[in-house]
Symmetry: C2
Subunit: 139 residues, 2 copies
């Protein structure tokens, strides 16, 4: 459903949010440790998230990452890393597919696509239900 990069991005954002709720900023190594991801690859993803305006990055000792000071939805994270093809593109890969010129499964997948958009737009990264509780981020 999501690329590996996007999986790492979501886990990262949730971890940074959890950490921030405790008043701490988060370094790359802390992230890769928390979510069990390859360090250099994760670094690139954090850069993308920072460039995309979802994270603030701070260099130097004591540096690290903070969530940007705005509402951040799961939708923003997915769109930044994977783009919005999951939400918008034809499931059969047809460029011309649309409501008026549909592929054979267009209608059948409307409820799925609606459900996906709905959930991604309804989920705030800072939402308590993501952060608290016994949630796992690795293994």
């Amino acid at each position: 459903m999501f690329s590996k990069a996007c999986e790492y991005a979501i886990k990262t954002m949730i971890y940074v949010a959890t950490n921030e709720k405790k008043g701490r900023r988060t370094g790359l190594k802390e992230v890769t440790n928390a979510i069990d991801s390859p360090e250099a690859f994760t670094a690139k993803i954090l850069q993308q998230l920072a460039k995309g305006g979802l994270l603030e990055s701070h260099r130097g000792p004591g540096g690290g990452f903070l969530l940007a000071e705005r509402k951040i939805l799961l939708h923003d994270v997915v769109k930044t890393i994977d783009g919005d093809s999951l939400m918008n593109a034809c499931v059969l890969g047809l460029k011309e597919c649309s409501g008026s010129n549909p592929c054979p499964v267009h209608e059948d997948f409307l409820p799925i696509r609606n459900q996906i958009s709905e959930v991604l737009l309804a989920t705030d990264i800072r939402d308590e239900k993501l952060l608290s509780g016994n949630h796992i981020l690795k293994i």
Copy 2:
């Protein structure tokens, strides 16, 4: 959402079903022409579908492919080509994620996964609503 191979597979199955309703079996070239896909790559996919018991293949002049003589669901096609990770695996890629040991988004994605399973299991490849109508299979 689906791999390119799976997109080709779904289009192929629908095209073969349409053709079969007209009493014709379908050759590889006819498929690639109908769905605008690379021939050699599509051949491999048809082989997988045949090995998976979704298509009957016939060699030699006048040969080609027929749907297997059983009910075939969209779910069968997707499972044969992409496996069932879309239906079963954790969206964040965690092996240990489950209802009792969930990742942070486990609950949020339950309705999406249910919707996907529901649609894939409810859609029969021979269903009139897929085959008739002004549906496009290419471009």
